[in-house]
């Protein structure tokens, strides 16, 4: 097998790309929409300084103060908030905050969750029992309340941009660790009983070797999926914290939940633009990430996955079994090409 071929096969096996190649019809549509929205979100965050006409805490320019609660107009295409900020600019800057929180939270919780899950699942015994009880307790606890408690602990409630982001990220991490832990632990326990792990044991492989070489890669198969699903949950938790006044100060960074909090009173008096735009930003971002995650989930599960209908076009195969063993023909080894 040539090296080149191997490489092209490698990138085709990457998550998302491999999923895209497998998808058909409506599933492909959902995946594409999800990828588009997620991409838009990441790009906006990356180029926020170029896109946003004003700063997130800017309430005046050379021509003077913006004025509060101004309806959308030529200068402020989405209007201004009660605090006199430009709604469009704050929505754009908000992507940065959201992205930073997602990355920090998910990275932290993946590390902690994966390591704990591997150890707990593989070693078992009382260590496992203790960790499981704790994780289950946290898992059953309202995530938002836990995040609030953590936010109080870390920042006493409000803080600067970095402090606020880290506070939010760590609060979310604490909520997510049990989720990663559960998934990885369950996978580890399943894999532990698999013959290939047992065969490593019979051969005399050490526990560290078994965990690192045989279990780790197989257990982390589902991580990209949890990543996307949790990223969307992270945004919702961040917004919830902001809404309850435990997020980031408006002068420190732009945060959609906080803006929505301030917009609640506006809505009662019919001022819609201060709330609708940041709210839509949350919905579309979460929608995009969830669509990607859900599509990946479906495509991973052959039971759920849809297939193209058999038709005239498309390559033909000789038998069902051959599809999984393309290289068997002509070896003369078996009677059938099972």
């Amino acid at each position: 097998m040539s090296n080149n071929q191997n490489k092209s096969a490698m990138w085709k096996r990457l998550p998302i790309i491999s999923h895209y190649r497998k998808a058909v019809g409506l599933q492909k549509g959902m995946l594409v929409i999800g990828l588009f929205l997620s991409g838009l979100f990441v790009l906006t965050a990356a180029f926020a300084p170029l896109i946003a006409p004003f700063g997130y805490a800017q309430s005046a320019d050379e021509e003077g103060r913006f004025g509060a609660q101004e309806a959308p107009n030529a200068e402020h295409i989405w209007g201004t908030t009660v605090g006199g900020y430009d709604v469009f600019s704050r929505v754009v800057w908000g992507t940065q905050t959201a992205l930073m929180v997602i990355v920090a939270a998910v990275v932290l919780s993946i590390f902690a969750g994966v390591i704990l899950g591997l150890l707990s699942g593989y070693i078992g015994g009382w260590l496992d029992k203790v960790i499981v009880v704790i994780a289950d307790a946290i898992y059953a606890f309202p995530a938002l309340l836990l995040a609030i408690v953590m936010a109080i602990v870390i920042s006493g409630g409000q803080s600067s941009m970095f402090g606020g982001i880290m506070a939010a990220a760590i609060s979310i991490t604490v909520v997510f660790i049990p989720q990663y832990f559960r998934v990885i632990r369950a996978e580890t326990i399943r894999l532990k009983a698999e013959p290939f792990v047992e065969s490593a044991k019979v051969v005399g492989a050490s526990n560290v070797r078994i965990m690192a070489r045989h279990i780790f890669r197989n257990a982390t198969r589902t991580l990209p999926l949890i990543f996307t699903l949790n990223a969307s949950e992270a945004i919702l938790t961040l917004a919830g914290l902001g809404f309850l006044g435990f997020g980031i100060e408006p002068t420190a960074a732009a945060e959609w939940g906080y803006d929505l909090n301030r917009a609640m009173a506006d809505a009662t008096s019919g001022i819609w633009w201060t709330g609708v735009f940041p709210g839509l930003a949350i919905v579309l971002t979460v929608l995009g990430l969830t669509l990607v995650g859900e599509s990946m989930n479906d495509l991973n599960d052959p039971r759920i996955r849809g297939r193209k209908r058999a038709g005239k076009n498309g390559k033909s195969r000789e038998s069902t079994e051959a599809a999984s063993a393309p290289a068997v023909h002509g070896t003369g080894m078996e009677i059938t090409n099972e």
């Binding site: 047992e198 065969s199 044991k201 045989h214 209908r309 070896t331 078996e334 099972e338």
Partner: protein, 577 residues
């Protein structure tokens, strides 16, 4: 492919009844599936017919299209399938009827018996409810009447005390009884045709005999036609009137059962029949004398060995192995036979240090397994090889075949990569696996090839002892034959001792010098292979051998008679074990 019998006109030539009064006529059926890799032609050209009261077996290995053909008859193919041709059932073509008509046909004209009775029954409904569902689907029935008819169906299939058991849930029945319930549900509306898809494959051989007996009885008493889907030539010889042999989506031969077994015409059929292991045909112990022991030092010695699984949360523990004594000497292949739950796998795993012994004594290469400590046992591991049952699951999907085979070498010997690779090549040669497979991933190999690689891995360090746990039971019969042959050659060449675990007496007879028979954790009989097979002493062994169907319809009919006789005697004499 080999020259096949022309499948198109086969029914005209071979079928004793004309197509007009046939229960089922399949004409030039073609089924295509859509998959990721493109279209798969699962069934290419199949024609056959089934007369009233006839048992037609469709035989083939995996990928032959036999199950797809069966599902077509009931319109149960998934949406990704496209079928062409015709399948006429009581005058209606099931391929072209509407969904509504198909629903009416199912259960009333044709019904199905599934391979795995525990998944074919819904765990959260009573069996009575499930049988009644089929009745309710074909017209209004009162609750009382449905219950009465469910009880009637259950008693037809020999479920004792049906009035009471109609309210049981599936998990309250044993495996064989569950299959009886599935058959009862299929019979509820007295359909003219039953499609039985591997109806006895998931069952132990003694239970299999009972289920086959039941199916034969139903045919004799009610004239039900049966389409029997199976890979097992013994089952075919036992039950079928006529046989359709399929290979890769095509019919290669159609013949009545006696003709087929006596004079198989097609090359593939001949090969298939030749691959079926038979007791006494190729016995490893044929030349062994009962009295003397030609083997070397004792490597494994079990004395009153007990293995208990702890109960969970106050439930009592389960004794999987109870006071078992045996030895395995250098160079000897010891066959361990038993049905599911007999403890045979537990013994194998305990010898390999995967389970713990809890009582008695088990010495493996001089090491007392009762005091197993991973650290002290590890040096001995290089002398023990293990071949697992499922070749697909026993390789890490992320490692290449060469890496998998080299794993024991990397762990136990500090060899250079080059040196290690050379050894891997040698091993691959030894198990007749082409060298270019070294860089492939496990999923790119077929089942038989994977099992060869598994053998290579087990042999990597020239072990003194090899444990093979049902190494061929996941393989097709023709592949199994090759792997078994290979195992024999290698064992003779390398000279290791082996514990060969299997449920299949014929397979064990082919390989094992000495054989132990396990029943519910107890070793009921032990001896030289041919002695056990030919003059079994314990009634359980006799029953085990008697219920194994042999691939020869005439001989099987005689054996069946003898087996029945034996059961009757046992029932009278109340032989207990």
């Amino acid at each position: 492919m080999s020259e096949a019998v022309n499948a198109g006109d086969a029914p005209e030539n071979q079928n004793p009844t004309s197509a007009r009064d046939a229960v089922l006529t399949i004409d030039r059926l073609k089924v295509t599936f859509a998959t990721d890799a493109g279209d798969v032609h699962a069934v290419k050209d199949v024609s056959l017919s089934v007369a009233p009261g006839e048992v037609v077996a469709i035989v083939g290995e995996s990928g032959s299209g036999k199950t797809v053909t069966a599902k077509t008859i009931l319109g149960l193919l998934p949406e990704t399938a496209v079928s062409e041709g015709a399948a006429i059932l009581n005058g209606q073509d099931v391929i072209s009827v509407s969904a509504q008509q198909m629903r009416q046909i199912r259960g009333r004209d044709v019904s199905m018996v599934f391979q795995e009775p525990s998944t074919a029954l819904n765990p959260v409904f009573t069996v009575g409810w499930q049988i009644a569902e089929g009745l309710r689907a074909h017209g209004k029935v009162s609750r009382k009447e449905a219950r009465a008819r469910a009880i009637e169906a259950l008693s037809k299939v020999g479920i004792p005390d049906p009035e009471h058991r109609v309210d049981y849930y599936p998990h309250q029945f044993s495996g064989g009884q569950k299959q009886r319930v599935v058959i009862a549900a299929a019979l509820a509306l007295n359909p003219g045709l039953i499609v039985a898809d591997e109806p006895s494959t998931a069952l132990d051989v003694t239970v299999q005999a009972e289920i086959l007996e039941l199916l034969r009885d139903l045919r004799d008493k009610f004239g039900t036609s049966i389409v029997l889907i199976t890979h097992n030539m013994g089952v075919v010889a036992d039950l079928a009137d006529r046989v359709v042999v399929m290979y890769q989506g095509d019919v290669v031969e159609v013949a009545d059962v006696k003709t087929l077994f006596a004079h198989p015409k097609d090359e593939y059929t001949q090969k298939l029949l030749g691959s079926v292991p038979r007791i006494g045909a190729n016995s490893a112990s044929a030349t062994l004398n009962v009295k003397e022991n030609p083997f070397g030092e004792v490597l494994v010695e079990a004395k009153d060995l007990e293995i208990e699984y702890p109960g969970r949360l106050g439930k009592s523990s389960f004794k999987a192995v109870d006071k078992v004594n045996f030895t395995i000497s250098a160079g000897e292949v010891y066959g361990l036979v038993g049905e599911s739950g007999s403890g045979k796998t537990t013994i194998g795993r305990t010898i390999a240090g995967l389970n713990r012994a809890t009582g008695g004594s088990l010495k493996v290469l001089g090491y007392e397994m009762l005091e197993l400590k991973e650290r002290t046992f590890k040096p001995l591991r290089k002398d023990i090889g293990f071949v697992f049952q499922d070749p697909a699951a026993s390789f890490n999907p992320h490692l290449t075949i060469a890496e998998c085979i080299a794993e024991p070498i990397t762990i136990h010997e500090k060899r250079s990569a080059q040196d290690g690779l050379a050894r891997v090549r040698e091993l691959m040669d030894a198990v007749q696996l082409p060298r270019h497979f070294a860089d492939r991933y496990p999923h790119e190999l077929s089942g038989g090839q994977r099992q060869r690689a598994s053998l290579a891995r087990a042999l990597a360090l020239n072990p003194k002892l090899l444990i093979a746990d049902e190494p061929t039971s996941a393989l097709d019969v023709s592949v199994q034959a090759k792997v078994l042959e290979l195992f024999r050659e290698i064992q003779a060449e390398f000279g290791f001792a082996a514990l060969f675990i299997s449920h299949d007496l014929a397979v064990v007879d082919m390989l094992a010098h000495r054989v132990g028979v396990l029943l519910r954790g107890k070793l009921v009989e032990e001896g030289v292979g041919h002695q056990i097979m030919n003059e079994p002493k314990h009634p359980y062994t006799r029953r085990l051998i008697g219920s194994l169907p042999v691939p020869d319809p005439i001989q099987q009919a005689e054996r069946r008679e003898r087996h029945r006789e034996m059961l009757r005697e046992e029932a009278l004499g109340n032989v207990g074990y």
